[in-house]
């Protein structure tokens, strides 16, 4: 079959790879219909996450049709349309039972790497390096889905393929940021990042009752899209002081909830960005936490900061003093998708949650390398490239 493979730093190519097989009783094979790029893939492309082998199939946000099920699969049948969460989950460990699905104990086949790095291993992810299990990704004609009854979710009749696609990752990730960030009716919420996850976090905040939502980015076309789709207020940090704008918008208090949806390769203006660039190039820090610093600094006293962006290791100049003295709650997580996806599909079906505007570039898998190039360089108004199979 054809698949888009990581072949080295900034080198992805469509290759012929063996078809996936059922390896466990609870596996199923999904024929992929749509698979999209994600901002976190860029950390693989740039070599920021070094646990890749040439020939690894990438991609983790996808939907498709069940092609084959193992004897231990009871909830899906061949022909069913499913959205597959990017996190593979067993559904029965303590973490899964407590709806902390991305922390599943039983799905990372290489637990030693992340146990040494982070003290414990999160669950496995499709197409996201051998540190996260070494599972093949979704930019392929077929994907093996382990623990299929728990990892994949049926798509209701009223939801089209493209809308369902984003329920695999960006929608539940964004929702989780607003939910676990503690957004309440009347809150003012600031979201750093106007990509798919940031936009979904902003919409989730609205649906959870936020009175005002402000989205921060440096790309006008993304901010415009967020404003048009959801009526949020926007701040372009390239020409505006984010802190001053947030103080003005909140009567001098600062946002009640700050959601960071940028991640470890954040950009900024001014000396802070140069500092982090130098430190990361010299390997004196692994990640550039610019948006996290801003979120903590600008959050109101006693407020809440949720880190949705992907981080890998160690950061410098973390504002611990601000966190402690302002009495903040700081929390982060990879997405606990299975907790939210059924509810989110219902909201998509009802029309209150719109997602398909995110797919700015729909193309065949054969153009996968071009899709990543557009996405990475933010060219041609690209928010998400979607591969059609």
């Amino acid at each position: 079959m054809k698949a888009l493979c990581w072949e080295g730093i900034n080198d992805v190519r469509v290759q012929d790879v063996p078809d996936p097989q059922l390896l466990n009783d609870q596996d199923m094979i999904v024929k992929v219909r749509l698979s999209t790029v994600c901002g976190s893939d860029l950390h693989l492309l740039t070599g920021h996450i070094p646990f890749m082998q040439a020939g690894d199939v990438i991609g983790h946000e996808f939907m498709g049709e069940v092609a084959e099920v193992g004897p231990g699969v009871t909830r899906h049948r061949p022909g069913d349309r499913v959205v597959v969460c990017s996190f593979i989950v067993c559904g029965r460990c303590w973490y899964c039972r407590n709806e902390l699905y991305s922390l599943c104990d039983n799905t990372n086949t290489n637990p030693a790497i992340t146990q040494q790095l982070w003290g414990a291993d999160p669950g496995g992810i499709f197409g996201y390096s051998h540190a996260m299990g070494g599972f093949r990704g979704s930019h392929a004609e077929y994907v093996r889905v382990p623990f299929a009854d728990h990892t994949a979710i049926p798509i209701p009749e009223g939801v089209d393929d493209l809308s369902a696609l984003f329920a695999s990752d960006s929608v539940p990730t964004g929702w989780m940021g607003a939910d676990l960030g503690g957004v309440k009716p009347g809150d003012v919420v600031a979201v750093w990042g106007s990509g798919a996850v940031g936009q979904m976090a902003a919409r989730a905040a609205q649906l959870l009752g936020a009175e005002r939502v402000l989205v921060i980015d440096r790309f006008d076309y993304r901010l415009r899209q967020a404003a048009q789709a959801f009526g949020v207020e926007t701040i372009n940090y390239a020409g505006t002081s984010v802190g001053d704008a947030l103080l003005e918008a909140t009567g001098g208090r600062g946002p009640d909830v700050c959601i960071e949806a940028v991640g470890c390769e954040a950009h900024s203006t001014g000396p802070q960005y140069a500092y982090d660039q130098v430190k990361s190039k010299l390997k004196l820090e692994t990640d550039r936490p610019i948006a996290v610093r801003e979120a903590i600094y600008n959050c109101r006293k006693g407020g809440s900061v949720f880190v949705l962006g992907v981080f890998t290791g160690l950061v410098d100049k973390f504002p611990l003093g601000a966190l402690m003295n302002k009495g903040l709650t700081v929390r982060g997580a990879q997405q606990h998708g299975q907790r939210y996806i059924p509810m989110l599909l219902d909201r998509i079906a009802s029309g209150e949650l719109v997602t398909n505007h995110l797919a700015t570039h729909i193309m065949p898998l054969s153009e996968g390398a071009r899709g990543y190039e557009l996405f990475k360089k933010k060219e041609d108004g690209c928010v998400r490239a979607v591969f059609q199979l």
């Binding site: 466990n24 070094p50 890749m52 082998q53 040439a54 790095l117 070494g134 390997k283």
Partner: protein, 128 residues
């Protein structure tokens, strides 16, 4: 980061070698999300086969978190083998099977080959 991970691993190995004798005897443990009597009655073969050579301890976990399943390492079984057995036993008890990783790429490249050395041991490594 691979270098950082390597350094962390080397440091961890060095720390283990410096351990006092009583530290080397410290139990390796996982918590299984099943009741103690269920764990006792259906201990998977991956772990049960070491029963004659290591002490296996089963006791309720605090806060209704299931069962703590622990083994005390001995000279007869490597810690690597015991970590692997504990993880596999936990997976079988909780999820019914041990998930297998997908087939590896055919041309991993030099860095990929180095990474394979790490991942080939990863099932029995780590902090467990």
């Amino acid at each position: 980061m691979l270098l950082a991970a390597g350094a962390v691993t080397v440091a961890a190995v060095a720390r283990r070698r410096r351990r006092a004798p009583d530290e080397r005897d410290r139990y390796l443990a996982v918590t299984v999300n099943r009741a103690p009597d269920e764990v006792q009655s259906s201990l998977p073969e991956d772990l049960a086969r070491w029963r004659d050579r290591v002490e296996i301890r089963i006791r309720p976990a605090a806060g209704d978190k299931g069962t703590e399943l622990s083994v005390q390492p001995s000279e007869q079984v490597s810690r690597h083998e015991l970590r692997l057995a504990l993880r596999r036993a936990k997976a079988v008890l909780e999820a019914g099977e041990v998930v297998q990783s997908d087939t590896a790429p055919t041309h991993p490249g030099p860095m990929g080959k180095a990474l394979r050395l790490v991942t080939s041991r990863a099932g029995g490594g780590g902090r467990l």
